[in-house]
Amino acid sequence: MRVIALVKRILKQIVRDKRTMALLIMAPILVLTMLHLVFNGENYKPKVGFVDLPTALVEQLDDADEATVNLYETTDEAQTALKERDIDGYVSRSGTSLQLTLEGSDPTINGATMKWLQESLKSLNPDSSAAMLEVNYLHGSSKMSQFDSFGPVLLGFFIFFFVFLIAGVSFLRERTTGTLERLLCSPLRKWEIVIGYVIGFGIFTMIQATIIASYAIYVLGMMMEGAFIYVLVITLLLSLTALTLGVLLSAFANNELQMIQFIPLVIVPQIFFSGLFNLETISDYLSWVGPLTPLYYGADALRNVMIRGYGWGEISFDLLMLAGFSLLFMILNILALKKYRSI
């Protein structure tokens, strides 16, 4: 079949180009290793729930601008709010002492919440130390590092970035060397070209994602609560989105340098909405951009699996969105090829 011929050719080309292949696999590994060695961590206004605390205490704690306080009747209500990520943690009574339960997937937020509570309690009652506070975690633990928290986002980002670049440039080359025109002088259909690229690069991306994710998880010890297979499915869908977007944008570039010029326009802004920076501290003028970027969903799904240990139920929406993006870009690609041959 013609698509198979195209897939075979693409795979052969990737294997022959040792340097590109090395870049796709080694560059993310290198950068992740460096981040692992380097990373450290900012000001955040925690959202805290109070469960059935004495009114006097609540009034005194609630006066500060440093935290948002929600009140709950029961621990169950607070627990639900915590799971929905409406709050970062809640304070409840456990015997005579207070108990803080944290959502836990972001160490910065954990730290900020604990610090706020400890300082507020101290100012109320300078004599008693913060030792009476007992801390629990819904996800993660006090041992979770910055790298564990950002890791899944970075993993997704690097795979997205490199697949975007390499798929974009290889399709660009197909155009500038005239081979695309040559393909269109053959009975190959336009959709077959797009599908061929998706499968060819998809196979390679599977291998790439497996190697990079295993390295990050098993060698660097990145936190991994969920099943590995979910990570693979997410990264595969994320790279398909990157691939189809790269191929699509390559239609608007005339050479490799112009392809590189898309990085600050298309790739870098996605980092801002990927969850690497707290989404709630982003200005309202910009926050609507997040849901329009593929990495927003990819990173959310990876965090859900790797930190929170979630499965299908929680990531299916993200996966659906990524599949939707890929499909949209594929259709646009087929339409863009009309410029070269009308049928």
Binding site: L6, R9, R16, E181, R182, C185, P187, R189, Y340, I343
Partner: protein, 239 residues
Amino acid sequence: MNPIVQMEQVTKHFGKQEVLKGISLDINEGEIFGLLGPSGAGKTTLVKQLVGLEVPSTGKNKVFSIVMPSLDVISKIGYMAQSDALYGELTARENLQFFASLYGLNGARQKERIQACMEIVQLNDHTDKQVSNYSGGMKRRLSLAIALIHEPKLLILDEPTVGIDPVLRKSIWESFYELKKQGVTIIVTTHVMDEADKCDRLGMIRDGHLIAVGTPHALKESMNSTSLEDAFLSYGGGN
């Protein structure tokens, strides 16, 4: 003779620039038809319309009596573009295998065709060499071999012998005559006059106009000139 290609009042403009101006032309089955003209005359735009890569602004092109572009007709045409559209990372054989499979040629038949086409262009000693190591002339010949791979009934070659030395050029033209004997129609574009002399019929193109059509002999005769070059200049001047 049956016309295999019929161009009917074809014009093409890109924006305000008119590249083809009302071209009507019939090309018959089994002939070697040369399109002669200086660079920028519209030769490439014309042949691209015949392979379905361009659509006329007005008028229509029929190939095998079907209006182009049509996928059925596309698979009967062998096209060699002006630039060598090859995959440098792959060997010549892999390039040929790839294009052969696009036309549904597989297995033993594919092997046979690769062997035959590489013989025509005299590259059979270099079949397993990576294309990025090929010289310019070798790439040109490999492009020709690819255009021949699916035994097309119509061969459209855009400046096929650029960068090929005279000895090889001669042998390539011999293979054109050989293909012609097998009933293949060949359309070549060229700006080299001595090559034009070898065609059965010629169409002279200048500034998007088809200024003259006829056998090389008739064209020379009608302008009382001894060479095609003179004939071309007098036609151009008379326009």
